[in-house]
Subunit: 286 residues, 4 copies
């Protein structure tokens, strides 16, 4: 099957077990709007408006297989990814969306091995995503004052298989933090500006800071406070996700979209030292 002119050296053939076992999670996918994330368990019947799906019957099948509901509808058996676990997570709070999750990782340079401080666990969507990136040698230390949120987040983290890479505290970081030298800090609180000095003391020099700021008022206050506290490379931004409907000869952007989730404010810590940038120079320079 390979071409004759090019020779492909030493290209690996991987062996991956892709069977759905008793207890495996599976994404029952019909369409983007009709999909269910559930566990393959004997005797379980999923009742959907596309008909009933017999979960016993899929145990032993391979991911990517295709079955029919009792109403004859096609269901694809997809192996769930971190994306699916997040999009189908249990929620007590507004979650951070993939467009924002991805940019947080790309902008901070978070990677395998990173130590991350998260203030505001919420429902754990961001925690889940970051744990999937930093594991196994990195770790997420996450704080929330709300015991209900922590309980939900833990269930979501266990489901996604990343709980062991996360340590969760019920604690208010406004009171001070006993963490040092984290690579990245993420703040998802009503008042990100209220924990900036605490975060400063907890991340390494030249470490990254990100605040989740749904309103422009939070963005403004946070950016101003960062400037006063030895943070540089301050960047406030929004990420907009817009889908396109591809149809032959009739391709166009979708009619509707989510217009706003949150602004993101980025910064990096430097040593405590007077700067020679005037305020005006500072602002135009960013």
């Amino acid at each position: 099957m390979l071409g004759k002119t090019f020779y492909l050296p030493l290209c690996p053939t991987l062996q991956v077990s892709m069977k759905i076992n008793e207890g495996s999670y599976v994404l029952l996918f019909h369409t983007q709007r009709k999909k269910w994330l559930t566990k393959a368990v004997y005797e379980k019947k999923m009742h959907t408006h596309l008909g009933i799906i017999d979960m016993s019957s899929i145990i032993g099948m391979e991911y990517g297989s295709i079955i029919k509901s009792t109403e004859g509808k096609t269901i694809y058996l997809i192996q769930p990814t971190t994306y699916d676990f997040i999009m189908k997570s249990e929620r007590k709070t507004q979650i951070i969306y993939p467009k924002d999750l991805g940019f947080i990782v790309a902008r901070t340079g978070m990677k395998n091995g990173s130590i991350v401080l998260e203030i505001g666990t919420g429902s754990g969507a961001l925690t889940t995503f970051m744990a999937s990136i930093v594991k196994p040698s990195g770790h997420i230390y996450t704080f929330d004052v709300n015991a209900d949120f922590i309980a939900v987040a833990k269930r979501n983290l266990v489901k996604a298989g990343v709980m062991e890479f996360v340590t969760s505290y019920q604690y208010d970081p406004h009171l001070g933090l006993d963490i040092k030298d984290a690579d990245v800090a993420i703040v998802d609180l009503g008042d990100p500006w209220g924990v900036i000095t605490q975060v400063y003391d907890s991340i390494k020099n030249s470490g990254a800071f990100v605040a989740i700021c749904p309103t422009f008022n939070q963005l403004e206050k946070t950016a101003i406070e960062l400037r006063k506290n030895n943070f540089v490379d301050i960047e406030s931004a929004e990420i907009i996700f817009r889908t396109v409907e591809a149809r032959e000869g009739m391709t166009r952007p979708s009619n509707r979209m989510i217009a706003h989730t949150t602004y993101l404010v980025f910064a990096r810590k430097v040593s405590n030292y007077p700067t020679d940038l005037s305020q005006e120079e500072y602002l135009t320079a960013e």
Copy 2:
């Protein structure tokens, strides 16, 4: 300094070596528009329009420290992240930008340990980012027909310290691929639709596909071809990044922005099996 009402158990104090050594990379950061990524080498002088920076003098300093150029300008010594290596990478082609890099990872569920097939290495920006995520147990297999691009990409990968997690081939994947069961395939070619059957055979069942499509025409052709080849969960989208200027009492979006880099087309592979979704149902369902 910790609060009295909450007790913070077992919170780790990490010890990180943060010294700039001979041969270390450092980001000389003045402002977002005036920054240089370079190596700390004895005797080296960086000549910039902010004055000369003596690289000898920074060896032994800690990242996050602050120095002055010969013209008295403040320079922050930032430890470069994957983001910095990408933004300052050597380029022979248009690179994929962080807004798109992040979403590719978030949407495909790429994570530590993933096996990735990349068709179209280009200058290696995406390769670098993905390697930072999947290492050490995952791997990137990347293909390009252009030897110059491969050479540039390798230099960028070595600089970012991730070359060992990447295998690079000068080869045209239109001719067929000897890879099986990759978790994710990324296609950055002029004709992504031209390698869809090759990619289908190289990724695992329910594995993810992404095409980089700068034009509408590429998006349309790729999405149509995916529908014909047992891919589901097809989503075409663009990610827009817009900065905000935070100034006390005068906060507003920036005047100018990059309006477009590329569309992204996502899909997941399922078994070869006839579907009962009509074309119309298929389209409205996505």
Copy 3:
């Protein structure tokens, strides 16, 4: 009440009759999502989910007055503008939205006195808006092949009080047009490229052309055809409208928005004469 330091010379006090008469249109406004455009008629009762509104009672009141529904809800009696007539128009087709209406006028320089050729009357939203601008000395000549659309458009034009400035034809302009020297032509057809030579012959030299192109495929074909037919200043664009929710200390863009209505393609007619711009020069020059 006027300041002492400045003297305000000759500023007019206008006298405007603002009474709601029998037969006047009135916008019953509760909120942006709960509003009704109706006629003030004796004995008429408006049944809404905010209670009943007795239309007899408002005759003789002034526009801008405030009444209560039978359920005690506040209803503002707004004098309807062209905007209200359009937003509440009877529809058989997708209408052109205010964001696009406004830009069409601003980009073409349409103004009081303009002669406009409209191909594709649809439900008459654009016709209504343009008539309100060009009247009384200008005129709109509008064409549609669909008798139902024309009937709907006429009812909308009569309601908005601009029918006398519009002449409507049931006719297919692909067959040729007997109009000369129009200032502006607007094309809202499935195939705008199919009437470009007909439009060329019907507008004055240096007159403006606009095509309504919901899909990128229409945009591409139309722009290419314009280049071949002595049109210059070709510009393809989309107008995006995004609302912001203003709340004290919590201001942010709205959660949802309309992502796409249509692309607009603009051009201006020049004499039939060979150009010395190469195709490449042409494209980069636009």
Copy 4:
């Protein structure tokens, strides 16, 4: 040339004089980025980087004709529209752009005959556009405290031929206004919230208000103040203009765009009367 099946009744053939006379304005158009708005005057030579254009030679030619510069470059002789006069206007301030101009007219329902109050004349771009719409029976009353701005605006209005439909005052409307029953008021000041009661007294009941607010902070304060002062139908929004490059088989949005010019805040005046909408109901209702 007309079709046989359809009969086109009474379609007018207009006679328009399209000659360039001594003293006429003409847009010398090469490309969107290379164009000049100037007067056709005997003996005048335009020196451009495309060569010299002899203005004597074009007198007597028809608009839409094509000439060559001394360097052999094609120049189209376009009859300037309001759009051209605005885009090429003399400027002392940031002008309002066509995307915003158009929406202001479409949202307020401004039309032929409207009486408009403009606070903040600036360089007169908006004044010019509105005058072209409301003339001949409507009128613009425009105020600015800055004599330089007024002088520039007057020159722009004279050039565009609409000065007779505008009355301009050097005056600070914070001190009160002697105008009554205007249809629409436009406020382009640093503190739009500071003149809301003055505007309230100057527009008719159910008349429209628009504020030009480049920053979030202005938008927030203005919307809050409008709610306290008997304005309803309050809507804050931004208009985004994004061009698309149409090339056969390679159509895509442009690389760069203007990301932000201004927010617009709309409202309509109602009678002074207590409302039964609670603050919360008010906000969610908008």
